[in-house]
């Protein structure tokens, strides 16, 4: 755990990776403990962001020459997260119109 006292903590890759782990764990905890669908979506967004942060960090610290694949991946992650949120909310609103609830407990039967 000596990375915290490393000289130049903002230039240390491990600090970004540990930060990403914390964000990812917060996302997992959110997904596991919520019953509200929007709450689960919030957790998924956090996890995706942790992944994107890792991509950017590796792109910055792993390549001496200019290789921006990590940035491109992060952009794809961001775009796909937006797409996922749109579809999830469309489904959510359609479900809410029928059942008047967004709790996962109430959406357990298949036939509607």
């Amino acid at each position: 755990m000596n990375f915290l006292f490393f000289e130049g903590i903002s230039q240390n890759p491990n600090s970004y990776l540990i930060l990403a782990i914390i964000i990812f764990c917060a996302g997992i905890f959110t997904v596991l403990t919520r019953k509200n669908i929007i709450g689960i979506l919030l957790g998924i967004e956090l996890m995706l962001n942790a992944g994107a942060l890792n991509f950017i960090a590796f792109s910055f610290f792993r390549h001496e020459s200019a290789d921006y694949s990590g940035h491109v991946f992060a952009i794809f992650v961001i775009v796909l997260a937006a797409a996922e949120a749109v579809v999830a909310l469309a489904i959510l609103l359609a479900v809410y119109q029928q059942r008047r609830s967004v709790s996962t407990d109430d959406i357990s039967d298949l036939k509607g």
Partner: protein, 175 residues
């Protein structure tokens, strides 16, 4: 100075993520997520990724968060934001989260990757080159995905799709 700013932004990120994880009010959780997303954009700037940082703010704050807030405001109605959002299964969730966290820290500490000192550059032009040369296929696939998405979201919210079970009404004859 730089380290101080980094620590502040990291603290804000962690705070936002923890609020998202532990807050029982769904609107506060969404606010925590907003805070975390903006702070992560700040972290991207530390990693010389200005274009990605601005995209993060444009898409997450301007698009995803607005959608999520729309969803929250339209579905929970303000009065039952607490009741439909219980903390359930806290013990197994804590266990799983702890295992994941320890695993991640173990991997980071024993990865054995060699790291270089990153350099600060203007990235916009190079990202454009990468997107249109090496990653042209995923780029085009994403555009197809977005078209599918627009059509799908439109179809999903159409009125006719919401099935209302009721007997077909008899036509009233003219009297």
């Amino acid at each position: 100075m730089k380290d101080g700013i980094f620590l502040c932004i990291a603290a804000v990120t962690v705070f936002g993520a923890l609020v998202t994880a532990f807050s029982r009010s769904i609107i506060n959780a969404a606010l925590g997520l907003l805070l975390a997303l903006v702070a992560i954009a700040g972290l991207y700037i530390f990693l010389s990724a200005d274009f990605v940082a601005v995209s993060q703010i444009l898409i997450y704050v301007g698009g995803v968060m607005v959608l999520l807030l729309f969803g929250i405001m339209l579905t929970s109605g303000g009065d039952n934001i607490f009741s439909n959002n219980p903390i359930m299964g806290a013990v197994p969730a804590t266990l799983i989260t702890t295992i994941f966290g320890l695993l991640g820290i173990y991997v980071v500490n024993t990865s054995g990757l060699t790291f270089y000192q990153g350099a600060y550059r203007a990235t916009t032009r190079d990202i454009g080159h990468f997107l249109l040369r090496e990653y042209i296929l995923p780029f085009e696939l994403v555009s197809v995905l977005i078209v599918v998405l627009i059509v799908g979201a439109g179809v999903m919210l159409r009125k006719e799709l919401v099935i209302v079970r009721q007997a077909p009404q008899k036509k009233e004859g003219k009297k």
